[in-house]
Subunit: 320 residues, 2 copies
DNA sequence: GGGCGTCCTAAGCTAACCCTTAAGCCGTTC
DNA sequence: GAACGGCTTAAGGGTTAGCTTAGGACGCCC
């Protein structure tokens, strides 16, 4: 029984599958399967067994998850305690969806670290489902993205962070931008150029695509929203866009697509563990989020932060 | 940071030295030093530093030791949870000093496991100082030996288990047994034949030897009390003896040595964590200890249990 | 039935853990 | 100063964790 095995186990339980856990941890699937095998062997219980589609906990597994989760949490706490005792910069770990993690959150975190000295921030990108699990396992202190709800989000408090408007853009030369209102059927016939969160069924864009029944073959995933825009500007297809991120003057070469009801008013939320489980570091960030500085940072379009530092590879990064 | 490293660290802190931790864990001293080095490195803090004679915790170490202890405890709990869910026999881990662990506790545990079905007992031998640490680290559920007190025993409840009388024996042919009352000075001039707890300064015999200022060169340690008796019967020297364990008829070849004040009335105690930290399994054993069956078992002289099972090697055994 | 998504196993590798013995360092103590 | 107890470092070796790629087993769904 190692702490790593316990972490893997808990994450597999919270995410409901080994595949998802592997993705969240950034490792191959057998790595997760094997860690679990080792844990099963050392405890002498299957812990987590397949049942039809999906997996269920054994009675022993049900008891162990809670204990394992506590152990993982304590390990994180121990590291934080050492940092604190050293007077080292406090570390805040933020997780976000791809859309908001591309520019908005980096700008936010830079503003925060500039203002509050002695704070260091890291950012990881994950799916909406992962955000909840990362928070409850204390692998992240704050999650920024859509509101977290449902059974995976018990004990998590989501509060509105910022209002934004979701629009749709295409090349100015594209008939979509000029031919008046676009029908639902038409939306299924064009290419959708999306950032990685487009493949996340719980993200804003993912939900939209699912709702409109856009076939997967029509979805083209780009490493970032701006890359999708660039592709839209020079080629064909429609790209979702956060209105104010396009820049005050609009994007040269791009025009708005008049999808019915757009621009859609939406909210980003900041989520963290509720009650006495809220990390101290999350509380401090939340205080900052209420300031005008934070609001202003979120409206900046430049990001203002070196991409190397705050733009991790396409998928999730988990911090050790 | 591994669970093993944390266990070593906590034990070193509780016992106040690496040497003691190594002995308690049954490993070499560098093994402990190394585990600690690895932990220090992974946390980036010395945790435990030398200060003159003895070691003190760094500020970070002070924070970490509590968290580490919790983690180790949770790991033990997880294993117990699996056993319980399986309907496996409940495991009770008893620690005792050498004197009482040689025959009394084995007989006690056999009576207990005979009566309470679905219970499995293991026994480890340790010094008095170790007993306290083993309990607080949940490496043992119940400790049997002298009363545990002092700073290392906070949170531990010791209650009297049985009264016994400490006497002294030597070969019948030895003048000590026949020449009337023995002076203190005389006690320092004879060989003392003791079980391993004779080297434990906090054990009953150890305290006695220390009080009487018996020089170490006069102390000969045997693997068990009965081995010491056998040596006394055929050679020279004096051996402490629990009166009722000599057998109703006395031991052939041995006679009592009239040490002033002997036989000394004393108590064995059963100790366990107090409050809500008391292991459920310890509570059940305690209930048994109050029964006549338990009393009777402690008075039996045969032990009644295969030595191989309940007589671990000379020193401590720690269970994983 | 065929495809697909998901989990498991196999094989091979690297790195870390954990143990040992032997020897060095540095306090305290006589 | 010499001896000693106690912690550390060094060197070496066995075992296990933990990762990968490749391939097999099984249930679900069209």
């Amino acid at each position: 029984m190692t702490l790593n095995q316990l972490k893997v186990f808990v994450l597999a339980v919270r995410l409901g599958s080994m595949r998802a856990a592997a993705q969240a941890l950034g490792v191959s699937e057998p790595a997760v399967s094997q860690a679990l095998t080792a844990l099963r062997q050392s405890l002498g219980d299957p812990l987590l067994v397949r049942e039809g589609s999906g997996m269920v906990l054994t009675p022993a597994g049900r008891r162990v998850v809670g204990l394992a989760s506590q152990m993982v949490n304590l390990a994180v706490e121990a590291e934080a305690a050492v940092r604190h005792a050293h007077g080292s910069p406090e570390l805040i770990r933020v997780a976000a969806t791809a859309t908001v993690g591309e520019a908005v959150v980096p700008a936010l975190l830079q503003a925060y670290t500039n203002r509050a000295t002695n704070v260091e921030a890291t950012l990881g990108i994950g799916t909406v489902q992962e955000l909840a699990a990362l928070l409850t396992e204390r692998l992240a202190d704050v999650a920024i993205g859509p509101r977290l709800s449902g059974p995976a989000a018990v004990g998590i408090l989501s509060e509105p962070l910022q209002r934004y408007r979701l629009t749709f853009v295409a090349a100015r030369s594209d008939p979509l931008t000029t031919n008046g209102p676009v029908s639902l059927a038409r939306l299924r016939e064009v290419d959708w150029l999306v950032d990685p969160s487009g493949t996340d069924p719980l993200s804003e864009v993912g939900q939209l695509l699912g709702h409109a029944r856009v076939p997967e073959s029509r979805i083209r995933v780009f490493p970032s929203q701006s890359a999708a825009w660039a592709a839209a500007a020079t080629g064909t297809g429609i790209a979702p866009a956060v209105e104010h991120l396009l820049g005050a003057t609009g994007h040269p070469g791009l025009g708005f697509v008049p999808v019915g009801g757009s621009p859609f008013p939406m909210f980003w939320y900041a989520s963290m563990l509720s009650g006495d489980r809220t990390p101290a570091t999350a509380i401090r960030l939340r205080r900052f989020l209420a300031t005008p500085d934070a609001l202003q940072a979120m409206y900046r379009t430049d990001g203002g932060v070196p991409a190397s530092k705050f733009r991790p590879p396409v998928h999730v990064t988990i911090w050790n």
